[in-house]
């Protein structure tokens, strides 16, 4: 497709992004062009916005930011097989090679030749994006575009919670960021016995309850969540614990509250190494720890898709703001300056 489009790009080697006119991407034979209906802000994009050390190492401006999106296929490369004009799609943020040793182990999402939209190639804070067929995922028309835009982080939550079954099990989630809130919804939809969520912002705990958490704890309250959950489980502890806060205390609590033979999923990243009594935490109590980063392609997508189709999972309470693309700056300010009530923010190009 010819012509220009609006795009939010990292151009200057300093804080902030710029809304500019650029050429509409020209697709390769194995790609489609997607007209973006909605795109979501991700915590990782905040690094590029504030231009911290991580950002300076990670990307080479100029580049259009953004990797969570959905939209309609408006142009189809001639080597594309399964998609056609008018298809409603989203995509994994990862472009994988499919042929390296890690991909062949079934771990495409940590592919050795990995590229990420809005990092290594042009992203989704724009009117159009070119996407290789191997990264596309078809959406049902029943999925609202606001939901389509957050399928990627919802996939992360799905992977973390469902990496082993949670049906009929007690589940504790540490953290109240958007992925943790999605996680509460996933656990509830999957028929968890009881979903506990431990966070620190009252409005987010309210969202957690709307997502299906049965009990929420605010770490600023005097009640000790570990003690309360142990009591509620007759001293045995929770079957499954998902750590999504990344705080050292939270990581410690995760292992204190899991039962003998239970499972801890680590998803949050701790700011620095932590001291760890691995004997009690893991060995003597036969705990399983499952590290999770990203989403399996494509079985986790299939799970998230199925949960949405079931009608038992609705991620919309987590989406607290929708803005036109032009107000991207407001969006990032919501995510940075004291805006603790912000859940997921969506831009509409």
């Amino acid at each position: 497709m010819k012509g220009t489009m609006r795009a939010v790009r990292k151009i200057r080697l300093e804080p902030g992004f710029d809304l500019v006119k650029v050429e509409i991407p020209q697709i390769q034979p194995n790609e489609v062009l997607v007209k973006i209906a909605a795109t979501a802000l991700c915590g990782s994009d905040v690094h590029f916005y504030t231009w911290d050390e991580f950002a300076q190492k990670r990307i080479k401006p100029p580049v259009t930011i953004g990797h969570e999106f959905c939209g309609e296929v408006v142009e189809v490369g001639n080597a594309v097989r399964e998609y056609k004009l008018g298809d409603y799609v989203t995509a994994d943020s990862h472009i994988v090679c499919g042929t390296c040793d890690v991909c062949k182990l079934g771990l495409q999402h940590i592919c050795q030749n990995l590229k990420i939209f809005g990092n290594d190639v042009e992203g989704s804070y724009a009117e159009y994006i070119a996407v290789p067929e191997t990264s596309l995922w078809r959406l049902s028309r029943d999925v609202p575009t606001a939901v389509g835009a957050v399928m990627e982080p919802l996939g992360g939550a799905t992977q973390a919670v469902l990496i082993e079954p949670v049906t009929a099990k007690s589940v504790v989630i540490f953290g109240d960021g958007p992925i943790a809130l999605f996680g509460a919804g996933v656990a509830a939809a999957a028929g968890a016995r009881k979903v506990y969520l431990v966070g620190m912002v009252a409005s987010r705990l309210e969202i957690a309850r709307r997502m299906g958490a049965n009990v929420t704890f605010n770490i600023n309250d005097p009640l000790d969540p570990v003690k309360a959950i142990l009591e509620d489980t007759h001293g045995i502890g929770a079957d499954v614990v998902v750590e999504m806060a990344g705080a050292p205390q939270s990581m410690k609590n995760a292992f204190a509250v899991v039962r003998k033979g239970g499972r801890v999923t680590t998803f949050g990243l701790t700011p620095k190494p932590i001291e760890f009594d691995i004997n009690f935490a893991v060995t003597l109590r036969q705990v399983t720890v499952r590290g999770v980063a990203g989403r399996h392609m494509w079985d986790t997508w299939k799970l998230a898709d199925g949960l949405l189709a079931s009608g038992k999972l609705d991620p919309r309470p987590v989406i607290t703001h929708e803005l036109p693309l032009e107000e991207f700056d407001k969006g990032f300010k919501l995510m940075t300056t004291g805006a603790r009530d912000t859940g997921k923010v969506i831009l509409r190009p």
Copy 2:
């Protein structure tokens, strides 16, 4: 405990049971005495009632019938460790040895020295029953006694549906007997993508929908369920199929509707051997078949317990009749003579 009690027993070597006075069972050191709050009629008891060939081989009258029940612990043997007076309990219908080779393989429920309440030892159609500690399961006070009485068949449904995860998957259940109806509830509570149930009695299909089935088919209607489900899954077929009808056509349909790489659980018993194109049904399409009879002790109980606690599974719509113990005869007539609308029948001693 001393004294007599009312009990429904098989005494005469002919159709029917008798309500008689017998001694309250004397417990062994490893047993408790349970005062029965509710006991449920099982299809297998119908054989003893009608006194068919199977029944004549299986039991040696006189014996009190019944193996699905719940109640309160009113006497505790001195070798019992984990239960005390006043505990609210149910039991697996199986008394297992725990030491034979099959038990040591983790398959206690098909123990080589298996005894069954109401078959090999005195059963639950009575005011009291003696139960060894190894068969007991503690109930939460939140579980109504009507539900407590059907935990055992609910466990069968749970085992059949959840022997592999169903969260986010499409599930087809063939059959509309009580266990199939429970199964629809289990699949829905576990967050199945969509639950289809294929039956033959309109009132039971109505119960299926109340239990959470999204779509029901009546085989007496012109619409072909296999064709309809294939269409609804874009020609791919269902992820999981649970055969609980035991009819040859139903078994055939089960394999016709499962997707490549999907799972079929066989639970229903066919009246005679069936002809089977195992190449297409299983081998070429990489289908997994899981035979299920009974419930794993105790992981399946833990699952059923967790689903009830989640509030997402309520088996009560399946319970269509509650009668006093004295009306046992009416109960069995409901289950035999044309009473196609009968779900689960409960007796109150």
Copy 3:
């Protein structure tokens, strides 16, 4: 690469193949050209040779036959990422799309857009073959070319035997064709408690024992293998049974000899539907049946590769003949006319 090469092709619509000169294949950007070191005859190619009904429906001559091979990369397309000149490689016989729904379920080997070398595209009974990178598998130089040529059928055996763990378990294999013989080797290498193989050709049973089978049965002998194995397992039966003969009696025996809670893998294809007492075979004894056709890409390859690297699996006893490409006709005669002693036949271009 320019020039001509020798190739064994199906040209005439009648029995037999022809050795002819053809152009060396021109590679696409995503392909490499492999100089074939060895290529193996497969039972499925016999259909094309005899030109039976299946063959007439399956392929459109002219086409070079053959899909089991290994060799050296002598030309590399410019979109190829992980392979370079001189690499020693083999390939899955399947060319998969990677984007259809079945591929996205992780079942690439039954991809909806599947193409097979020597069936749908030019095959390996030739000096050179063009292979897309997505079908390539790198071999260690420690793997002899005779073994490299049979990695694909060895993968089938690996998939069938190891689809669930066999370490420390008793394993019965029905069949004595090459894949069954490979299967015995896989089970032994994986530390099976005991490997039983049931066949019908004395020389093949001798190969089975060289591959690691502890006990072999010839169905032409008076000793009943089912009875003997049941006796040897104290009446309990075998943990794992792999049916690779496809004979109705063998299928029946498979279910007769598996233990309660055990696993049957079906791999052999029966000539017609069989009558089946699914109650006893599967349901009441809680048997798991796993249909297997082909190899998972790429986890099964990783397993076969690891077994070869362990030094505990050596498939060479199964390779009974090596011939120059010119003698392809002799090879197919060995596989068809009464040559019951033939294992795997390899051609050297």
Copy 4:
């Protein structure tokens, strides 16, 4: 059985044990009396011998020490079902209740009412021991008594290594104590791609190689095992790592050498909490950690039994000393004072 027997007991509240005459144990109805053929010294018994703080808290003298043994059934309680006079048996060291919540989760080996032979009840450093049927395991007459005596620690090694399949996978074992050496044998017997063992005593590394380790490293040598293994796996790392040394550096190395998506089993106990970069070690590389303490009853026993029956595992190289019961003091001195060459020590009553 009446009469007296020799027994090595903890009597005095100070270092050392005493060999004394005591009454032969009187069995309960659910117990058998075993005439001990061989009993093995365990590292945990060294605590009782040296009478350290742990020991002073753990046991209440007087008590006969010892929990690893085998022998013949010479008396059978009248409630015992599956064992008879003359049976050749060993036992799990654990006496479990079978009815607590943890047992009902299938985790009998960490039962809430756990008792251990030679700790809580009379042990095996004696001529006879009383064993409840629920702790017994039948041995094949093919198993030498020296091997029968070490089935319990061999079970620990089996559990740690085989908690997930290792067939065709690269396995690194850290540690060269008896259980680590058994572990190398288990991994090799199960068809591991390659077994690496990292230890510190040359004679034990020699035993490791006899047990099937392909490569051993001595941490006192200049070669860095982590670097060497990474190099040998083309920079990818090992599929499975089993930490059995309990040293902080070893624990750190375990996570440095495991591949993305791989598995670490923790079995060794660290002397104190360790600092841990859980982001890199677990989360970002999607590692699974499986804590293992003890053996599952009875599936792990079944595995160890099957490996012995396969002929592929022979634990005897690890047994470095056999002594008469009278020389128990020499045995413990071998295990404590500088006897770094000591593997497993067996006493013969």
